[in-house]
Each structure stands twice: as C-alpha cells, then as structure tokens.
Symmetry: C2
DNA sequence: CGTGTAAGGAATTCTGACACG
DNA sequence: CGTGTAAGGAATTCTGACACG
C-alpha cells in the first residue's frame, strides 16, 4: 500500500497513450517538446516517456493554445511559475533553519 | 494541480516499462496474467497496459514466489483479501445509511 | 508448474522533410 | 508559427510453441 505521490512524476507513459489521455496528436506533443514546454525522458532506445504531471501540463498547454497564446508566451509563463516555486521552496528551507536555530536556543 | 488518486489505477504503462519497474521478465508478467493474478487492460490493437497498482501487485507476487508460494496459492490469498475489502466497503455503506437515518430523526 | 527462448508478424515510435498559412 | 502527412527504419509487443525440470 505504498501510495507514493512520486508516481505522478514517474515517466512511464508512451506517446500513444498520452495522445489518448490528452486528445492531442503525436505531432503536437512532440512539437511542444521542441518548443521547450514539456520534457519527456527517453528509454535507452530513444522512446519518449511521459509522467501524469506531463499529461496535465499538456492539457494546460492545449487550453492556452486554444486561447490563442503562442508557445513562446506559454514558456514564459511557466518560467515565471518555476521561479515563484523555487523562491517559495528556498523560503521554506530558511524558515526550517530558523526554527531549528531558535529551538536549540530555548 | 488535480492530484487525483485514480492515477494509481489508470492502465497506461506498457509491458517493457513494467519490466524495468519490477525487474520481472515479460514472460513472467504475462504468465501471472494467465494465472489470473493480474489484469491489464488492452488497447484496441491488443497491447497490454498496466497501472501503478498493477506494478505494486507484481512486486508482491514476485516476493511471494520467492518464498516458494505457488501461483494458485497466491490467487487464493488475493481472493480472500478481495472478499475482505468488499465486506468492509459494504459495511461502510450501511454505516453511512444508518447515520443518515438517525440524522433525519433528530 | 514456472520460466526461458527463438520465430514471425503486427503495431508503435522516431526523425527529417514537405506543405499550408 | 503551429500542425498535418507520407516515408522508411528501428524498437516494441503479441501469440503459440518447444524446452527443461
């Protein structure tokens, strides 16, 4: 019963299945990779593998494309989100360190 | 951020990837299906697809096999677990109905 | 019983390119 | 720019069978 959340990040789904899950064509999925919006892993032999998180991102990309947003613009949005997340994570680390510091002083 | 747990049940992994995840051979994985221990879905064209839950079960099967337990025996164990789970679920439904009943009487 | 392997065919995936707009 | 498509090859998967123990 090891319900490990990291399953969401495991790159195990091949492109045909991703097509079914997202409704996108292989062409579009590969193209979004070319535009640095999505980063599948590859097997030894070069077969792309995607995670469930990738599938969700692809659906998000499809929505944004429908709104007429270009891939370059979508990439910028993701970069901003990434920076925001990294900042948040750094702050959490610092908060943890501060907590540890004050605990030792009590 | 729809962290839907049903991802664990989604049959999206093809047998080659399952081999890597579990360390089992394709032969063994297909054989355990023949023995009714595991139930992958099939694509239109007949390609087997497994879920993360299936992967976990396969590792469990492998452990039991290592202990020398035969597949028929393993199947019986799973049938017992299944019955137990079904009973538990039925009881939960009944409990819910009872709660609803007494709430309306208050 | 449980697993390996070779065999041949079918389905999947890959890349690079041409097309259209 | 974003996506479709035909092309040819490489990798994957499938089934049924023979082998061993």
């Amino acid at each position: 019963m090891a319900t490990n959340e990291s399953y969401l990040e495991k790159k195990v789904i091949s492109i045909g299945t991703v097509c079914e899950l997202t409704g996108l064509s292989e062409r579009r999925i590969r193209y979004y990779e070319e535009r640095k919006l999505i980063f599948p892993e590859r097997t030894n032999r070069g077969i792309r593998k995607y995670s469930f998180t990738d599938v969700e991102r692809l659906m998000d990309i499809a929505n944004k494309r429908e709104e007429g947003i270009q891939t370059a613009e979508i990439r910028k949005e993701y970069m901003k989100e990434k920076k925001y997340n990294e900042r948040t994570m750094r702050e959490q680390v610092i908060r943890g360190q501060l907590n540890a510091y004050f605990r030792t002083r009590e």
